[in-house]
């Protein structure tokens, strides 16, 4: 298998899962760098230069809300999933489940 080809297809398949992961993870408020670390630990490979603009985009769409925390020495912008974000997350998760079932059925059907 050509690693370039499989790499592109994997990237396309994973596109969009970062948004869903953010919406779920940010049910607990978090700030940019910490979220980046957590996502990578959880197995969602995402770059800083993708994640930071994405957070602001989701915020401008009303899916995340934000708050500056200036209690510590370094002021940080904390993001958390809004009600609209939770609704979208539920829709995306349901769709993910459907896709998973469809793919599984398809795969098992083919194997027979």
């Amino acid at each position: 298998m050509d690693p370039d080809v499989s790499g592109t297809h994997l990237q396309e398949l994973r596109r969009g899962t970062v948004v869903l992961a953010c919406l779920v993870v940010l049910r607990t408020p978090d700030y940019g760098y910490s979220l980046l670390e957590r996502l990578n630990e959880l197995g969602f490979a995402v770059d800083a230069n993708t994640l930071y603009p994405l957070l602001r985009r989701l915020e401008s769409q009303g899916l995340l809300s934000s708050d500056w925390n200036t209690d510590q020495a370094r002021p940080r912008k904390f993001y958390s999933t809004s009600d609209a974000g939770n609704e979208l997350a539920a829709v995306l998760i349901a769709d993910w489940g459907n896709l998973h079932r469809s793919i599984t059925n398809l795969d098992e059907g083919e194997a027979r």
Binding site: Y31, G32, Y33, S34, L36, E37, D47, A48, N49, T50, Y52, P53, R56, R57, W68, R74, P75, R76, K77
Partner: protein, 318 residues
């Protein structure tokens, strides 16, 4: 002292919308500092690695501002290509011919006519490409809410499948668009500027000046009709019987008067043929049969070509 981080943040935030600038600046600085701290070790090395991981600041800024990282995106690309194709296939040849005609009317020499037309062609070509690209790049950047292309596609706008034998395309249109005005220009040019001058220094035209009272204007009208015909034929994409008949009539309308005038020796200026070195009357005796053969051959050939192609097209569509 300004650090690499300061410079990086400045490079990113200078091109994001002003109302977001300070917020992005604060957040980005915190993120970079967090990253440097987490990497540990030598601060200068950690800073370098952090900034390298964030990558080109222009790219990050475009991502923050949700600006397209391309000149013309897939949304408008095909509108853009289609427009350019029309401009280069139709507007460019017409304007170049118009420039050549202007040089002819200004009584310029042949070198100036050719040179001027080539320069005009390159300049106009560059302008057409540049301004079209600029307009599309601006639309790409201003009309972010639009999701559909500029022109709506409908099944009716599908092209006709060109029939290789009966088809007609640019290969037939472009010679007509280029040579017909060139022919008209040549008629004007021979009157205004000739290779021979008379005693007073005025140019000696090749064609008899009295032809201007009717037959030359008549020829201009025919040339205009031929141009219209060529464009209509191109739009139809194929020969039809009515088009073949009109083509025969147009050819007859030129062939018959031209042959008659040549046989009566009413075409060439005797002063000109004398300058060429033909004794009186010989010009007509030598030139006339050649001209008649050329007129009849070209006219009948073209008329027959239309009929044959119309027949093929009607057979093919059955």
């Amino acid at each position: 002292m300004t650090t690499l981080t300061d410079r990086y943040i400045w490079a990113v935030t200078r091109s994001v919308p002003e109302q977001q600038r300070s917020d992005i600046e604060r957040e980005l600085r915190a993120s970079i500092d967090d990253d440097i701290e987490a990497r540990g070790g030598d601060i200068a090395t950690a800073e370098r690695e952090t900034l390298l991981a964030l990558g080109d600041p222009d790219r990050l800024a475009a991502s923050y501002a949700q600006r397209p990282a391309m000149l013309i995106g897939p949304k408008y690309f095909f509108d853009y290509v289609r427009l350019l194709r029309v401009l280069y296939a139709i507007v460019l040849p017409i304007t170049v011919v118009a420039v050549a005609a202007a040089h002819v009317i200004a009584r310029d020499g042949i070198g100036e006519i050719i040179g001027g037309s080539i320069v005009a062609g390159i300049t106009i070509g560059a302008h057409l490409g540049f301004w079209t690209t600029l307009v599309f790049a601006v639309i790409e950047r201003t009309d972010a809410a639009r999701t559909a292309p500029l022109t709506e596609w409908k099944p009716e706008s599908l092209p006709q499948i060109p029939d290789r034998r009966a088809g007609t395309g640019l290969a037939e249109l472009i010679p007509a668009v280029v040579f017909l005005p060139f022919f008209a220009g040549a008629i004007v040019w021979q009157q205004l500027s000739s290779v021979f001058q008379d005693a007073a220094g005025a140019p000696v035209p090749l064609l008899r000046p009295e032809l201007w009272s009717f037959w030359i204007p008549y020829t201009f009208v025919l040339i205009a009709l031929e141009l219209v015909f060529a464009v209509v034929l191109y739009r139809l994409q194929r020969w039809t019987w009515p088009m073949a008949i009109v083509n025969v009539l147009l050819n007859l309308a030129f062939m018959i008067p031209a042959t008659w005038l040549v046989l009566q020796d009413r075409v060439f200026n005797p002063v000109f043929t004398a300058e060429l070195g033909f004794p009186d009357g010989l010009g007509a005796a030598v030139l006339a049969p050649v001209m008649v053969l050329v007129f009849l051959g070209a006219g009948i050939g073209d008329a027959a070509d239309g009929i044959v192609k119309a027949r093929r097209a009607s057979l093919a569509s059955r």
